[in-house]
């Protein structure tokens, strides 16, 4: 997994509360294998009309924000379904960081598994960023994960992230490799648990 340390890039505001994973990746694209890429499916029905034409007003279609690598969202970004493909679609499009006041829990967990930073800003800071980007869409935003700071123009502020997720992103660590070092502990737990809760295993159906 790629490390995330520091990123300076254009940032696209998506000031929509409860922007759920059905919007980020409509369900009909869930059949697409990871290897095929999901960039064109990202926010499909908000970016394109039913004839496949771009909606020019949608922020990500505006010239200044087409190549954004950061999204500034609103409350409860990524709520809804557990589809990790919502994160794949963001990542494949080139997004590496979403800044928002809060995130859907499963989405935030999926993001860290793929090297996408979910930076939690206060409502006021997120709104201020959205306003600044509205005034000057070409303004660059810097997200520094080591310092946990976001900077835009002369404004800079601290953001929140779970410290474990921060460490994983900074190092590009993969959970499965990590769990490998706990194999003996898992086996011991399993043995003791079988004795403690014999009923927990599925019975053989008659």
């Amino acid at each position: 997994m790629d490390k995330f340390i520091r990123l300076t890039a254009t940032a696209c505001p998506l000031d929509v509360a409860n922007l759920n994973t059905d919007q980020l990746l409509p369900a009909r694209f869930l059949k697409v294998p990871r290897s095929a890429g999901l960039a064109t499916a990202l926010l499909r029905d908000l970016r394109f009309d039913s004839d496949g034409r771009e909606r020019p007003d949608f922020p990500l279609n505006r010239p200044a924000w087409r190549d954004a690598r950061i999204i500034v969202g609103a409350r409860n970004f990524g709520c809804g379904s557990s589809r990790e493909a919502a994160v794949y679609a963001l990542f494949d499009y080139g997004i590496r960081c979403v800044i928002a006041p809060s995130f859907g829990e499963i989405f935030a967990g999926n993001a860290v598994q793929n090297g996408l930073l979910t930076a939690v800003a206060s409502d006021d800071e997120a709104a201020a960023l959205v306003a600044m980007l509205g005034e000057n869409p070409n303004r660059l935003v810097t997200v520094d994960l080591e310092q946990q700071m976001i900077q835009c123009g002369d404004r800079s502020f601290h953001f929140a992230i779970d410290p474990v997720r921060r460490t994983r992103l900074l190092n590009g660590w993969d959970n499965i490799a990590l769990t490998g070092s706990y194999i003996d502990k898992i086996a011991a737990f399993r043995r003791a648990d079988r004795a403690r809760r014999p009923w927990a295993a599925p019975a053989k159906p008659e």
Partner: protein, 470 residues
Amino acid sequence: MSEPLTLFDKLWAAHEIVRRDDGEALLWVDRHYVHEGSFNAFSQIKARGARVAEPGLTFGVADHYVPTRGSRRVIDNPEIARMVRTLEENTAEHGITLFGLADPRQGIVHVVGPEQGLTLPGLLVVCGDSHTSTHGALGAYAFGIGASEVAHVLMTHTLWQRKPKRMRITVNGHLAAGIAAKDIVLTIIASIGADGATGHAVEFAGPAIRALSMEGRLTLCNMSIEAGARSGMVAPDETTFEYVKDRPYSPKGTAFEQAFEAWSALTTDDGAKFDREVELNAAAIAPIVTWGTSPQDALPIDASVPDPADEPDTARAKYLREALDYMGLMPGTKLTNIAIDRIFIGSCTNARIEDLRAAAAVLAGRVSKVPGLVSPGSSAVKRQAEEEGLDRTFRDAGLEWGESGCSMCVGINGDVVAPGERCASTTNRNFRGRQGPGARTHLMSPAMVAAAAVTGKLTDVRPLLSGRKV
């Protein structure tokens, strides 16, 4: 005296293998359900050359993509056929029991798990689906996970998690006649918001919850995620034990006696601390429907949709305008004046036998003014409904009696609501495009959907129940 614990504290402690200094804990998984959508995770473990660690604790169910109308012998769409086939191949390769398309036990994973006795009180249950919170109704710790976590569970049967905060939602008093679990949960979501329980494991408690059947509790916990909570739960009691007993995979004989003893301790101790408490009065809960594009946009049926002009908060006013625009509704419209184009009764939220009975009680001897599909939650529910003659009631009303699967809740099997069409639905999400691009969804209880079918408009079901046995 040891510190009083919550139900959730007890469930968590029983599954903690290690807790690191940084607060992350490695948890043991008791049940892992996979479905067609789990193909990304199987690809991940294949790429690592790994095997499934506990095939005996892993169960596959074909639900997300299976056809729910017409014959199921041949799937016409080759892409959808491939999704179902891939699940068959992946489960066969790893020795995982599959309730596949032709299996009599097939159904929606969150209906089948409890129905087969696979989900039990005290277990930790995961599945690559956000509505896994459903299984908490039995007093299990159950939550949805993403594809990378599915791969992690397949390979290790464990999961790294940080312990969530604890929240208790107490519903006092008793529900009035004609009010269902769906009305409770939509009222809760409307009250605390779509992110009102984010970061928390929710325990539902109080007399109104205790009085719910297992079906009702499953509906309640199912929609915990729509309030932001990854897991919701109800402490097991007599209702739970009666439900679990004698199911195909549930413990028998001595094992059941041991289980019963362990399950009886799964309650929140007096004086246990929650990080957040919310209380509701059941008597104040009316039949409720959603009008907008988030489950929090729910109002009692006698209300009118909001008018953005009356909203002082500009961001909120913008949200209301956009939601009303998508839903094709004029500000201030009375909910009971909203005409619908179709109905859907189905999904992991509301397609169990009790849900079908509630809808049939309203529809009996009446005709639906709009077309609609009834998709039972499992093949077993379908058989039982047919034994009870409920299928006849639906057919006689002019509705289609379908097969079991996720169907029109998520639309990925091809059963969608057409663009611009308005659907009264027993499902869980009224998101834009959820039931198909441009589809307009109103969420409500099965009885309320049946009432909407009878009148062709959003309707208070209560007058339609007068003189009927419910």
